[in-house]
């Protein structure tokens, strides 16, 4: 196993201890729920779409430090973005957590998720909040599950 401090970087621990934008969003006009059925992790994303941009975004749920921190980081990065912009960021995040590599270095603090690729069982934790956010943006309220062979 790799050193756990690769996985649990200080950014992760900080976002786990003090999640940003956590809780319900009373003004939300989009909500989507994600789960990780094997381990019971859950994440609900609330967002207010202003035109085609995310005006406000929050998340709620429970899960390991990785899933909580990743969801917290996600809210910071998705706020103000359109669906295509969010998809582009997620493509980078997905590449990062599955390979440890990034094309561009514009992920800033999201780079803290790089350690995940050494712990394949945790990839679905790191992507849970993102799946829910994308579903919310697409107006797809069905439960997102990370439990497919495609993830």
């Amino acid at each position: 196993m790799q050193d756990l401090t690769d996985l649990y970087q200080s950014v992760i621990l900080d976002h786990n201890r003090r999640p940003r934008n956590r809780g319900k969003l009373p003004t939300a006009n989009r909500v989507a729920h994600g789960e990780n059925p094997s381990c019971g992790d859950q994440c609900t994303v609330y967002l207010r779409l202003d035109g085609d941009r995310v005006g406000e975004i929050t998340f709620d749920g429970s899960g390991c430090a990785i899933s909580q921190a990743s969801a917290s980081l996600m809210t910071l990065h998705v706020k103000g973005k359109t669906l295509p912009e969010t998809e582009a960021i997620y493509a980078d995040v997905h590449k990062l957590v599955t390979t440890g590599q990034v094309d561009e270095s514009n992920l800033s603090d999201l780079a803290a998720l790089a350690g995940v690729h050494q712990f394949p069982a945790r990839i679905k934790c790191a992507t849970l909040g993102w799946h829910a956010a994308l579903n919310a943006l697409k107006g797809d309220p069905v439960t997102a599950t990370t439990e497919t062979h495609k993830d």
Partner: protein, 412 residues
């Protein structure tokens, strides 16, 4: 009789390093490790006797059939069944329960009937009954669990109210895989009989850990898995009282379970063949027989005492940790089996498991296939340490040390 430390020599898997530390395997609730005697039984079968059973008259086929039917008789003795024909080989607990839910449920359940179960069943002893009740238009009801941490066990007073003549079947676990609670199964069967309800016991967590006698318990059906009792994966048992089995229609059909087949229809053999369509899992059934031998040589009463010693020590050490919530029976309670489930303030179970793994310790974190129970207790997951015959007191020390380290790390 071997000593507990000698016993470890029988389990090859235990003698390895994980992340540079000697493996401490405390995930026995999920699956148990296999002694050399069980692995050898598999190898011996494939190297000497492998053949299809029942339909062959040549030497290998007769040997394979004798070994397979011998394993059935061995398992029958292990649970004190009256007749080997009451032992049906399945893939495991889940398939055993589904077989009853489908065969018995389909034939017996009518709209207005009630199926009773408890609030702390494994999904495998819950979802099949939801499906059977739904298919029949029957109602599924739950005997409540007492105590904010589930420490009070089944609400036996509520059970008396729930056990009406409408109850056609009562399914419950012997030992909870999440709480560690040991249910008073003989008493539950006795009460169910007063209203004529058929009883189904989920013995997945008990059969390899405590002495078990189906006739003393008085159950109608009992299900378990080989892999949790030192046997191989892919084999399990449905015990059913002969009188009930003979009235049940088969769940699966095909080769080996028919008497006569025409282009128009077919007739069935009696149990156990009626419920074993197709080529059975011969090798693993034989190895399950070897697991019965292994456990009986140690003595399940001694295994139970060993498990209890370890869980008591673990409860003592864990209670000393700050911000811990242990669920299930309180320390020292006689209805607690050899496992302990707990939640830490501010540290999610998956993080606990990942950090313990860094220390070479195998734990399980999650909902333990018990989502409704988790929700009832206001939890999303717990960490579980589950003990078996090869675990030691030093391993409990290593667990406690690791948990302290984890708490410190996350407290930052």
């Amino acid at each position: 009789m071997p000593s507990w430390s000698d016993v470890r020599a029988d389990f090859p898997v235990l003698h390895q390093q994980v992340n540079g530390k000697p493996l401490v395997y405390l995930d026995n609730g999920a699956t148990a490790q296999k002694p050399r005697q069980v692995i050898d039984a598999l190898v011996r079968y494939y190297e000497r006797d492998n053949s299809n059973v029942h339909r062959g008259l040549h030497a290998l086929s007769m040997r394979a059939t004798d070994a397979y039917e011998g394993a059935r008789a061995r398992v029958a003795k292990f649970i004190n069944a009256a007749d080997p024909a009451e032992v049906i080989f399945t893939r495991g607990t889940t398939e055993s329960i589904n077989t009853v839910a489908r065969s018995w449920g389909h034939a017996q359940l009518k709209p207005g009937d009630v199926v009773l179960t408890t609030e702390f069943e494994h999904h495998s002893n819950l979802v099949p009954w939801q499906q059977a009740a739904k298919a029949a238009g029957a109602t599924l009801k739950y005997v409540p669990l007492l105590g904010p941490d589930g420490e009070g066990g089944l609400d036996l007073a509520a059970l008396d109210t729930l056990l009406t003549p409408q109850v056609k079947l009562f399914a419950f676990t012997h030992i909870s895989n999440t709480l560690g609670t040991i249910n008073p199964v003989a008493e539950l069967c006795r009460r169910a009989r007063t209203v004529g309800a058929v009883t189904v016991i989920d013995a997945a967590q008990s059969v390899g850990h405590v002495p078990l006698d189906v006739r003393a318990i008085g159950c109608d059906f009992l299900a378990f898995s080989g892999h949790k009792m030192c046997g191989p994966t892919g084999i399990g048992v449905l015990y059913g009282r002969r009188a009930l089995l003979d009235k049940l229609a088969p769940d699966e059909t095909g080769g080996g379970m028919v008497v006569q087949v025409t282009y128009d229809g077919a007739s069935w053999k009696p149990a156990p063949e009626r419920f074993e369509a197709g080529t059975p899992n011969v090798a693993d059934a034989i190895a399950l027989g070897a697991a019965c031998d292994y456990l009986d040589a140690l003595g399940r009463d001694r295994i139970a005492a060993h498990d209890t010693r370890l869980v008591n020590l673990a409860m003592e050490k864990l209670s000393a940790l700050p911000g811990i919530r242990i669920i299930g029976p309180r320390a020292g309670a006689t209805d607690r089996s050899g496992l302990v489930s707990f939640a830490f303030d501010g540290v999610h179970a998956h993080d606990v498991v990942t950090f313990a793994d860094e220390d070479g310790i195998a734990l399980r974190g999650g909902h333990h296939c018990n989502q409704p129970l988790m929700r009832k207790l206001g939890l999303t997951s717990t960490t579980r340490a589950s003990f078996y015959l090869y675990n030691t007191e030093e391993e409990i020390d290593r667990l406690a040390t690791s948990l302290r380290r984890i708490q410190k790390f996350f407290a930052g």
